[in-house]
Symmetry: C2
Subunit: 207 residues, 2 copies
DNA sequence: TAGATTGTTAATCGATTAACAATC
DNA sequence: TAGATTGTTAATCGATTAACAATC
């Protein structure tokens, strides 16, 4: 159970630590240090140690951290030590690309259901999954106990889709539509809008 | 020219303000207030006023902000009042979806060049653009004066691609590869890794 | 005018960092 | 042992918010 007194900004860095550890492991390292991790991530070593200290003591003075151990701990803390089923809604260009994306495997998530309301797409197969009608979504989500969903519909449909998902039991939504959706209290939403990132960078271009 | 004393965290919120204004405008509003904007974004009205005050005075006491005026000002500040050409590298599933994505139009960016190194993809047409060989990338970027690029290659190629882009004059990179790339000082990088967002949310799921 | 909202200041709040004892 | 690195405390730094005079 999450300890409610841990700042969300700390939680937000844990996945970065996990990703960096995975990379170091792939490169053949067995042990690392807060300094090495910080170097790789552009974060101070003090911050990494402070962040981890919220959850326990995972290192050894003079040595550092065993990558395997720390990875396992972070996976447990983030609840990605088992695989979540994820529903994907909206199977247009973007949705299909997401469905075909191989990067979810081994990071705790597996797209298990595809939904769309367009007659041309319903019944279509994408990466081994069949697109199901939006009408059936609530039932399927409930029956399967799905807790995480991604929305890749046009902006105008996103709020309505979110309402249905939440009603059916979804607690976390990753929204690709460029619109802020309203959700009730315990539900989490994160957004992916590439233009926001581009605009944040264009400010700094001198040219 | 960016005033270097303005915190990056403030710059990061300006695109959100711009997006919210665009939405309000589409809904038929002409005028808004820091309170209304904050409501929509989940940000305090005081913060919005403080952020904007770094750049000038755009509102009117007792009334609020003219949406059209504030939008234009934000576009100017963020340098998206003209359209940037953007190079896209890596034309696999994800790259093709990005190339087909319609959401860049009118927000300051236009994908103008596609690059890949796979013989099957070179010469192929995607959304009206022809995929060019990676070998020619440096030359094209330089000749066209391209300053912004997106990387949608596998993680293992991302650093090498970034090096070429930067050498050719690119100053801002949006990286879809799940890896942190090293770049020299003035160059900006932003990342899009959906799993990071999912892991940040799974922590909070009680179930 | 009365009501509303801005821009700004000062206070508060929270996050980051520096430093170091503990100890492997 | 000597060197290195952790976990933690206290200090610093920076961001957010409350409050309000100015004024439309």
């Amino acid at each position: 159970m999450p300890r409610t007194d841990i700042p969300d900004i700390v939680i937000g860095r844990l996945p970065l630590y996990l990703r960096a550890l995975t990379r170091l492991s792939k490169e053949g390292h067995d042990i690392t240090s807060s300094h090495e991790l910080g170097e790789q991530l552009g974060i101070s070593s003090a911050q990494i140690r402070k962040d981890l200290s919220h959850f326990g003591e995972f290192g050894k003075q003079g040595t550092g951290y065993t990558i395997q151990t720390l990875s396992t701990e972070l996976q447990r803390i983030l609840k990605v030590d088992t695989e979540w089923q994820v529903a994907l809604v909206g199977i247009g260009h973007l949705g299909q690309a997401i469905a075909n994306y191989g990067g979810f495997a081994d990071r705790g998530f597996r797209i298990s259901h595809l939904f769309d309301n367009s007659p041309e797409r319903i019944g279509k197969r994408v990466n081994g999954l069949t697109v199901t009608a939006l009408d059936e979504m609530a039932t399927v989500i409930e029956e399967e106990g799905i807790r995480i969903a991604m929305i890749a519909t046009p902006a105008r449909s996103a709020q309505q889709v979110a309402d249905i998902l939440i009603e059916a039991g979804v607690q976390a939504i990753l929204c690709y539509a460029p619109i802020i959706i309203s959700v009730p209290e315990p539900v989490r939403v994160q957004y992916i809008d590439p233009v926001i990132h581009l605009q944040r960078m264009s400010y700094y271009i001198d040219d």
